[in-house]
Symmetry: C2
Subunit: 297 residues, 2 copies
């Protein structure tokens, strides 16, 4: 019941005719007026009648909560990233499969308004190359959040994984990591900036410039050069621009995620696409590390 739950999850659930908020749980935060609230997920599962659980907690504790919910026969919606490690997510998939419940690894940026138009537009083109520029001010977006800087925190890949979730959705072929440089502040265990080169089987490259030290204008842009001109997805995927056309449709990220989750539950299937997280793990596995200026909040 932290910030993302209140800002995004509660309004999206309230707006979906197929979903009802039956109960909430949080060790510290308060609940919602008129809705049963519990201090632990265990208490919620014991006392409330729910079909599904949406987990909005930090990734470090997500596995345990998800395993508990699956063991109680509940469908599970995971905020991004779906866990603290790839092997944890694979273990959850096995549990959900054995229990016959839906597991949904959500990637909210994939539901930004420009993403599906971009995917459709690129499908017929010859791609010459792509570039992600994702630059924001960590002091503004994550003030005093020590956990994102610790080992196991993703550092600048916390926002960067949103770009990767879009790139792996719109690109018509699998992207793999070719090289990476991670910049680590002298006093921190997680990167504050990163440069990646991704490539696909045709040899075409997508580069990524990821930086948490940008003050002033924030940049969340993806551009793709094609034989039919340039595609630009800006403002985190919200604005779609191709030659002769710009579209900025209404934001439907979390409503889109919850509609997808409801459809998965109805269809009795799961959707656990690990591709964005796998590229991040590969960057930690293979990346060159360089030490940069210490970072103080």
């Amino acid at each position: 019941m932290g910030k993302i739950a209140r800002d995004q999850h509660l309004p999206a659930i309230a707006a979906d005719a197929g979903l009802v908020l039956a109960a909430t749980s949080s060790p510290n935060s308060p609940g919602v007026e008129g809705v049963p609230h519990f201090r632990t997920l265990e208490a919620l599962l014991a006392e409330a009648e729910v079909d599904a659980v949406a987990l909005c907690s930090s990734p470090q504790v997500r596995y345990g909560l998800a395993a508990t919910a699956i063991a109680a026969g509940k469908h599970v919606f995971l905020e991004k990233p779906p866990g603290a490690t790839l092997s944890e997510v694979a273990a959850l998939e096995a549990l959900a499969g054995a229990a016959g419940v839906t597991l949904f690894a959500s990637w909210h940026s994939r539901y930004a308004a420009g993403v599906e138009p971009a995917r459709a537009w690129l499908a017929g083109k010859r791609i010459l190359g792509g570039r992600i520029v994702w630059r924001e001010d960590v002091r503004h977006w994550h003030p005093g959040q020590a956990w994102i800087w610790e080992a196991g925190g993703l550092g600048v890949f916390d926002p960067g994984i949103n770009a990767l979730s879009i790139a792996t959705r719109i690109w018509p072929r699998p992207l793999f990591l070719e090289s990476a440089t991670l910049s680590l502040p002298a006093n921190r265990a997680a990167p504050i900036a990163a440069d990646l080169t991704l490539r696909d089987a045709t040899g075409t490259a997508m580069t990524m410039d990821l930086d948490w030290r940008q003050t002033g204008t924030q940049t969340w842009d993806i551009t793709v050069e094609t034989d039919g001109g340039m595609l630009a997805l800006s403002s985190g995927g919200a604005v779609f621009t191709v030659p002769g056309e710009t579209r900025h449709d209404e934001d439907r990220e979390y409503p889109g995620l919850y509609r997808r989750f409801a459809e998965l539950v109805e269809a009795g299937t799961s959707d656990v696409d690990i591709a964005p997280f796998r590229l991040v793990a590969d960057a930690f596995l293979r990346g060159q590390r360089e030490t940069v200026e210490a970072f103080e909040d």
Copy 2:
């Protein structure tokens, strides 16, 4: 056509009635008396008649060679680890699937004589905990090999991934990484030692003590405590010991791999189990890093 090809692959192919060594390629090494030899894989594919390609080169160049072989319609056998990154291996799987050829990510230690008996013995037991101790002398096994110490080299996980390939095979449930500490020499980019805790969905732990600084006796042991007593797999999986029984059957690692490969080709299927490599990537993603004494060859 390096050391592993001559020591293991050539004898295993020669001993298998279903396989014939039709050609070899290597940029620097010589070939085999009486068998066509080429300087590049491209030249081999253009001139020799082969159904399948076994890649024994270092993981950094494996993707490009495998993609070339798949594009030529050949079945592909990958030495371990199957690539330099997880995303690369996923991309190869997609290519092999589209081309209708077999892709085999081989894990030779899984064919050590004690592994299948261990798997069968554990299947009916309640497991209380496990421990991997994998300690060897890097100066003896990898003298002067700079690449294993560079970013993208696996360091001590180069042998350690063999233990993980056994552990993920004999353990009856998926194992995920809970925590890791990586010890990096002050002058190197890859770990010389590591401590891991793996866990499964029942909460049972498997710990791993991995060290490249062991002189004298070398240790490649896995022990598992159960309600039926202790299982010990020693000498890298070759020796199987349970209460009242010790078995040390003949080494069949590479012959076993090649038989499996031939069966996959005949069945028209692939076998790409990424679990051991995923645990290594997770250790790099999530592990705490500590700096230890500089390492000089």
